[in-house]
C-alpha cells in the first residue's frame, strides 16, 4: 500500500493585472499552472527524489503534500485519507506525521526564536513529551546534524551561517519523528563533507524509524546517492519517473536527457558543452494543452503541443516517460 498518493493534482495561481493595466490596456487575469495533473505515489520507507527546472512546481507540490496549500483540483491521499477533506484536528495530526523542511533557511526560521526554541517548538506545541524529555531530544537531534548544543543552543538565526540554518531546519523537522519527510532542497548550502554526514543520518533514521521521504534537489548526484525512485518535472508536468538507476543511466524523456547531460563534473579542464535544447527558460502562464517541453524539444512535432501523456499511476514502479516520440528518439539515437 502506498503511504502517499497524488491523483491528478493541480495547483493554479491567478495572475491578476493591476487596476491600471486592466482598465487601460484591457489586461486579463491569467493563470499560472504551477502544477498540472501530477500522479505520484510514495511507499512507506521509500525515498522519492524530485528534480526539475527552477520554477517547475517542486516547492508547490511539497506544500500540497504537507497540507499547507490546498490543491486546485485532484486529491492528495495520505494513508488513503484525503488531506483536503480532513477536519482541523485530523489536519493537525497529519501535519505532525508529515514534516516539511523548507527550501529557504533564511525565511523559514523565526528571527526572534533561539535555535533551541525553534527545534523544540513542534514538540512543545503538540505536547509530545515532557519539557525535560523535549530538551534531551532536541539536544540529541542538534548534535545529530552537527550543531552541538553547547555552542548553538542560545543562538539566534542571524548568528548562524547559511548551512547552519539549514541544519536547524532539518533538526526541527526530524525531531518530530515524522512518518514522511518532505525535504525541499534541504542540503543545498552544505558542503559535501557535512552533506555526506547528514545523508548518512537521514538514511540511518529512515532505516531505524522506517520513514518515507520526498527529497527535492537540483543536484542529481545527491539524488543518485540517496533516492530509490526519481521523478523529473518540467513546468508543472511530471515528465519521467522510475528507479533512480534507470532514470539516470537510461533517461528517456528529452528533457531528462538534457538535464543529465548538463551535470557538471568536478574537473576544471572539462567545460560543459551547451545542451542541445533550444529556447528560453519559461513559465507555465496560460500554457498550451500539450507537452510543455515541446517548444524547446529538438524532437517535437505537431502532436506534442496538442496532447500530453500523463504518467500512469497503475504501475507506479515502472520506468516511464511522458513522451509520444520515445521510439523515434531512440531510433534517432542509435
Amino acid at each position: 500500500m502506498a503511504l502517499l498518493e497524488l491523483n491528478n493534482v493541480s495547483r493554479h495561481f491567478e495572475l491578476r493585472p493591476g487596476v491600471v493595466e486592466r482598465v487601460l490596456r484591457g489586461g486579463k487575469t491569467r493563470v499560472i499552472k504551477a502544477v498540472e495533473a501530477i500522479n505520484l505515489s510514495v511507499a512507506k520507507d521509500e525515498i522519492l527524489g524530485i528534480a526539475g527546472e527552477s520554477g517547475c512546481g517542486k516547492s508547490t507540490t511539497c506544500s500540497m503534500v504537507a497540507g499547507l496549500l490546498p490543491p486546485s483540483s485532484g486529491e492528495v491521499l495520505y494513508r488513503d485519507r484525503n488531506v483536503g477533506e480532513m477536519t482541523s484536528s485530523e489536519l493537525n495530526d497529519h501535519r505532525r506525521r508529515v514534516q516539511m523542511i523548507f527550501q529557504d533557511p533564511y525565511e523559514s526560521l523565526n528571527p526572534r526564536f533561539r535555535v533551541s526554541d525553534i527545534v523544540s517548538e513542534g514538540p512543545r506545541a503538540l505536547r509530545l513529551w515532557g519539557e525535560r524529555e523535549i530538551e534531551e531530544q532536541v539536544a540529541a537531534m542538534l548534535a545529530g546534524v552537527g550543531l552541538p548544543a553547547g555552542k548553538y543552543w542560545d543562538r539566534y538565526p542571524h548568528e548562524l551561517s547559511g548551512g547552519e540554518r539549514q541544519r536547524v531546519g532539518i533538526a526541527s523537522a526530524l525531531v518530530m519523528k515524522p512518518e514522511l519527510v518532505v525535504a525541499d532542497e534541504p542540503l543545498s548550502m552544505l558542503d559535501v563533507s557535512i552533506r555526506a554526514g547528514i545523508l548518512d543520518l537521514l538514511k540511518e533514521l529512515s532505516r531505524q524509524r522506517n520513514f518515507a521521504c520526498i527529497y527535492v534537489s537540483h543536484d542529481l548526484s545527491i539524488l543518485a546517492n540517496i533516492a530509490d525512485r526519481l521523478l523529473i518535472m518540467y513546468l508543472g508536468q511530471a515528465v519521467e519517473v522510475g528507479s533512480v538507476h534507470d532514470v539516470i543511466k537510461n533517461p528517456k524523456h528529452p528533457y531528462t536527457r538534457a538535464l543529465i547531460s548538463a551535470v557538471p563534473v568536478p574537473d576544471p579542464r572539462v567545460k560543459r558543452s551547451p545542451p542541445k535544447i533550444v529556447g528560453e527558460i519559461s513559465r507555465p502562464v496560460d500554457p498550451p494543452p500539450g507537452c510543455r517541453f515541446a517548444s524547446r524539444c529538438p524532437h517535437a512535432d505537431q502532436s506534442c503541443s496538442e496532447v500530453f501523456i500523463k504518467l500512469d499511476t497503475n504501475s507506479p514502479l515502472a520506468h516511464q516517460a511522458a513522451c509520444h516520440r520515445l521510439e523515434q528518439i531512440n531510433s534517432e539515437a542509435t
Binding site: G150, D191, I194, A196, P275, R283
Partner: protein, 338 residues
C-alpha cells in the same frame, strides 16, 4: 605588480561576540583578486566565507568586529574609508553582491522589478524608462520573463529569487561581483545557462568575480584560482587546475573524496569524520589537526605557516613535503574511518 590586482586584502580578521565568548569566524586572511578573473572560495559550512565578504563590504551584524592591515581596491585604500563613505562610493556601484539569502534581500512588499529599478536609480542618474529597459535586459539574461518584474517576491520560486538577485548584481556594471552561493537553488540546465551568460557579460565589461560556493563542480568550471577555507583561515590557494590535479592540504584531499558523483552511483562517500572547530577562544596548532589522519606532534602545537609549493600555489600544512604519501593514503576509506 599591484596593477594586476583589483582587490588586495591583508590580514583580515573578524570576531563575533556571543554569550559563549568571541567567535573567531575569520582569522588573518589575506588574498588578492586580479583583474578579469574568477576567484573561487570553497570550504565547509560555517568556515567563515560569508563573514569574510560581509566584513569586506561592511555588512557585518552588530556583534561583529573586523580588523585588517590593509584593503585596497583599484589602488585605493578603502580600509580607511568610513562606513558611510564606503557604502556610498563602493557598494553596488563598484562592488556588488549576490547574497546567500536572496529572500532576505528582497523587500516583500514591493514588486521585484521596482526594487531593481530603484537600485539602479539610486546610483545612476537615469530616467525610469531607461532603468526599466536595463532591468528587462538583465531579467532576460537570467531567464526571467519581463512580466515577472510586476510580481512580488513571494510569487517567485526559490531559484527565481536567486536569479533576480543575480540580475540586480549585474545592474551597475561593477568592477567586482561577489556571489555567495549563487546557484544553490538552480537546476543544472538553468545554472549552466546563467553561468555562461554571466561569463559573457563579465568578458564584455571585464569585471572580476568572487565566487563562493560549496559546489565543487561549479567552482571547478568557473574559477581561475581557488582558495580553500577551513576554520576561518585560508588553508590552500592555487589555480583551479593545480588545486584539482595536485592538491596538498589534507582537507582538500578529503573534500575531493566526499564529492558524490553521478557516474559512479553506488560508491560510498568518504566523508571527513569529526566536527568543525569551535572557533571560540585561542587555539594553538593547526585547526584541522583533530580531524586530520596525517597529523603528528608538531601539528597540535604549532600553527602551520603558508608555504609556497608551486607557482601561485600556497598551502598551510606542516606535512606539505610528504604530499605523495598523503595523496595515496587519502583516497582510501580506511585512512579516514578506522
Amino acid at each position: 605588480m599591484t596593477d594586476t590586482n583589483l582587490l588586495s586584502v591583508a590580514n583580515l580578521s573578524v570576531g563575533y561576540s556571543t554569550s559563549q565568548g568571541v567567535v573567531n569566524a575569520v582569522s588573518d586572511v589575506s588574498f588578492d583578486v586580479r583583474r578579469n578573473e574568477v576567484f573561487g572560495i570553497a570550504g565547509e559550512s560555517g568556515c567563515g566565507k560569508s563573514t569574510l565578504i560581509r566584513a569586506l563590504l561592511r555588512l557585518l551584524s552588530n556583534n561583529g568586529v573586523s580588523t585588517a592591515t590593509s584593503i585596497t581596491y583599484e589602488g585605493e585604500d578603502v580600509n580607511s574609508f568610513s562606513d558611510d563613505k564606503f557604502r556610498d562610493a563602493i557598494l553596488w556601484k563598484r562592488i556588488s553582491l549576490v547574497p546567500q539569502s536572496a529572500m532576505n534581500s528582497l523587500n516583500p512588499v514591493y514588486r521585484v522589478g521596482d526594487q531593481v529599478i530603484e537600485a539602479i536609480r539610486a546610483h545612476r542618474s537615469v530616467s525610469r524608462s531607461e532603468a526599466r529597459e536595463r532591468v528587462e535586459f538583465l531579467f532576460d539574461v537570467v531567464g526571467l520573463q519581463p512580466e515577472l518584474m510586476r510580481s512580488y517576491p513571494h510569487e517567485f520560486s526559490g531559484g527565481m529569487r536567486q536569479r533576480a538577485m543575480i540580475a540586480m548584481s549585474l545592474a551597475l556594471d561593477p568592477g567586482l561581483i561577489i556571489m555567495d552561493e549563487p546557484t544553490t537553488g538552480l537546476d543544472v540546465l538553468v545554472q549552466e545557462q546563467i553561468l555562461r551568460r554571466v561569463r559573457e557579460i563579465r568578458a564584455e565589461v571585464s569585471s572580476s568575480i568572487i565566487l563562493i560556493t560549496h559546489d565543487i563542480a561549479v567552482i571547478a568550471e568557473m574559477s581561475d584560482r581557488i582558495s580553500i577555507m577551513y576554520g576561518g583561515k585560508i588553508v590552500e590557494s592555487a589555480t583551479a587546475i593545480d588545486l584539482f590535479e595536485s592538491p596538498f592540504h589534507p582537507y582538500t584531499l578529503g573534500l575531493k573524496n566526499a564529492f558524490p558523483s553521478i557516474s559512479v552511483m553506488d560508491n560510498e562517500l568518504i566523508s571527513i569524520p569529526g566536527t568543525p572547530p569551535a572557533l571560540i577562544g585561542e587555539e594553538s596548532g593547526c585547526l584541522f589537526e583533530p580531524r586530520c589522519p596525517f597529523s603528528d606532534a608538531t601539528c597540535a602545537q604549532i600553527l602551520p605557516q603558508s608555504h609556497s609549493v608551486g607557482e601561485m600555489h600556497q598551502v598551510s600544512c606542516h606535512r606539505h613535503t610528504d604530499v605523495t604519501e598523503l595523496r595515496e593514503k587519502a583516497s582510501k576509506k580506511s585512512t579516514w574511518h578506522c
